[in-house]
Amino acid sequence: MSARKKSQKPKVAFFDFTGCEGCQLNKLNLENDLLGILELIDLVEFREAMDDKAEEYDIAFIEGSITTPSCVERIYDIRRRTKILVALGQCAVSGGINAMKNNYPLAQVQEEVYGKDKYLFPSMPAMPVRAFVQVDYEVRGCPMSMPEFLHVLKSLVLGRKPEIKDYAVCVECKLKENECVLEKGMFCLGPITRAGCDAICPSNGQYCTGCRGLVSNMNKNGAIEMLKQHGFSVEEAIKRMAMFNTNELVKEANWGNR
């Protein structure tokens, strides 16, 4: 057991769809742990860092959201070839910031950027991976939280379910005894945003923009009420919540509740 053979290591692949590649980069930023990770797994595909490709995977990590018909084909294909599929980063988990464009009529958005040449470039609403295929686990955040990614990777290599937090960022903020940014008169989406980032934004004096998506059973009216108390109109409150959560706020598009 201790002397794992190379072939026994799980075959792991990384794939990227539409996003900023910050999550990919974040993995390369694990410098100190990178070599340790390579001991644990058999990395078979990682376009941003290597040429090799493989046919089948034990774990496929998917980054980025689905925004074109060809993305859809590719994600179906990957799902067929992998045992476990993990969505990495908010683009893959919920559509992330890309989904902000879903608030505007598509034609208008394209017009805005490409003028009369807009027909050259097909696009569709930015969708989370789970809108198309079954997602086994999620690592949230924009960029995804690295400790959480490591936790998920270690857990999956060990063969156990990862512990995914489903409570508010405020919890981590309080555990770290951060000064609450609300106390400073700023606003914050921490009370309705899923923890797992170690409250990194409030720890740096900045407000939480809700990049990890909403906690489940969120009290939406309560959240709007809270933002109103802090001086935001309902429209502004919803706009604030929508920055990373457009798809989650649109009920019809509540892909999570499979």
Binding site: V171, K174, L175, K176, C180, G190, M218, A223, E225
Partner: protein, 357 residues
């Protein structure tokens, strides 16, 4: 150790000016690790180890985390283990160090006494008591702000129970009262204070009267408001973010989980503070959630403070520090909830009286 100390008017007392106070802090630092309120960020305070007397802020309203973090850290390793082959477990050693807690408000001291009860009850917990022992507390009087309601719960600003010394801010310095033997020893050794023999005149702040009923009737109220509409009303605004539990001076629920190292050969069992306001708190593997709604969770939180534990210890387990309300993002006030429950109770009583007559 729960004995009620004398009233401070009967205690020996001396005066420290600002400079002597600094020297005294230095003196204390030479005796043991000193923990005192420090500034944290723009508006908040935090208990922290003092490396320099200048950092100590003695006129503070409340710290974010209560003192319990020194006896039950927000995150602690319960066990270290090896996974491979025959499992080996080791309990990490807990250092027993002498600590002086300086500038503690009377309610925060009371909270420690309540936690002593909770950690002793049923099965005493070594982790807590190992850290808890060898602590000396030096209290300080405070000026209640709009969120404090400790006085309403019967905890006097000048309550010296549990302290060794007690400081009262005075013009250009502090009055230092000798509360117990240790305190007496400290003052003797330090030997710099200006002795005060004259009869002291000082004002006790007016009781705040924030609660609409005497505190010793609260458990009784709580026997009648389990099904009150107030819970649902609070739940409409509550975000279930857990802040109230996580800053509470007397909460001590926790979560436990295993974390493995990158080599997946060793790991640790960790415990962190938890909160009964969080959705997954009472959820089991099958998906069943025994407290699925925010009203049931809010009710549980308050019942733990005013009824459940009270029935065992005979004391209220809220000390009126106001942390939960002060830090609540939705600005839900505990005092308001209690007052609404009192009103609800009064209505019930009136109604009962009417129906009887």
């Amino acid at each position: 150790m729960n004995r009620q100390a004398k009233d401070i008017s009967e205690m020996k007392c001396c005066f420290f000016d600002q400079n002597t106070t600094k020297q005294f802090i230095e003196f204390l630092m030479s005796k043991a690790k000193v923990i005192a309120p420090h500034r944290k960020g723009e508006k908040s305070f935090s208990f922290q180890e003092t490396h320099n007397p200048e950092e100590v802020v003695l006129n503070y309203n409340r710290t974010i985390q209560p003192i319990k973090k020194f006896f039950m850290p927000p995150r602690e390793t319960l066990l270290e283990f090896e996974l491979n082959g025959k499992p080996k477990v080791k309990k990490p050693e807990i250092k027993i160090e002498e600590r002086i807690f300086l500038g503690i408000h009377s309610y925060d001291m009371k909270a420690i006494r309540l936690l002593d009860f909770s950690f002793d009850r049923d099965k005493p917990e070594a982790n807590y008591f190992l850290r808890r022992q060898k602590s000396v507390f030096i209290g300080i009087a405070y000026e209640p702000d709009e969120y404090h309601f400790a006085q309403d719960l019967g905890i006097d600003v000048y309550d010296t129970t549990g302290f060794s010394l007690f400081m009262v801010p005075a013009e250009k310095g502090f009055l230092i009262f000798e509360v117990d033997e240790t305190g007496h020893r400290y003052l003797q050794e330090f030997g710099k204070g200006l002795p005060l023999d004259a009869e002291l005149q000082y004002e006790r702040p007016e009781p705040t009267k924030k609660l609409k009923m005497h505190y010793n009737r609260l458990p009784q109220i709580f026997s009648h408001v389990y099904d009150s509409p107030v819970w649902k009303k609070v739940a409409e605004r509550c975000l279930g973010c857990g802040t109230c539990n996580l800053v509470c001076s007397t909460c001590y629920c926790f979560d436990v989980f295993d974390e493995v190292n990158l080599n997946i050969k060793e790991g640790t069992r960790e415990r962190t503070w938890d909160s009964c306001m969080l959705n997954p708190f009472a959820q089991v593997a099958g998906g069943e959630n025994f407290r699925p709604t925010l009203d049931s969770r809010t009710r549980h939180r308050l019942y733990r403070k005013f009824k459940y534990l009270t029935d065992y210890s005979g004391e209220l387990h809220c000390i009126g520090c106001g942390r939960c309300s002060y830090f609540c993002p939705a600005k839900i006030s505990l005092v308001e909830i209690i007052n609404e429950l009192i009103e609800d109770y009064n209505r019930q009583q009136q109604h009962a009286a009417v129906t009887v007559s």
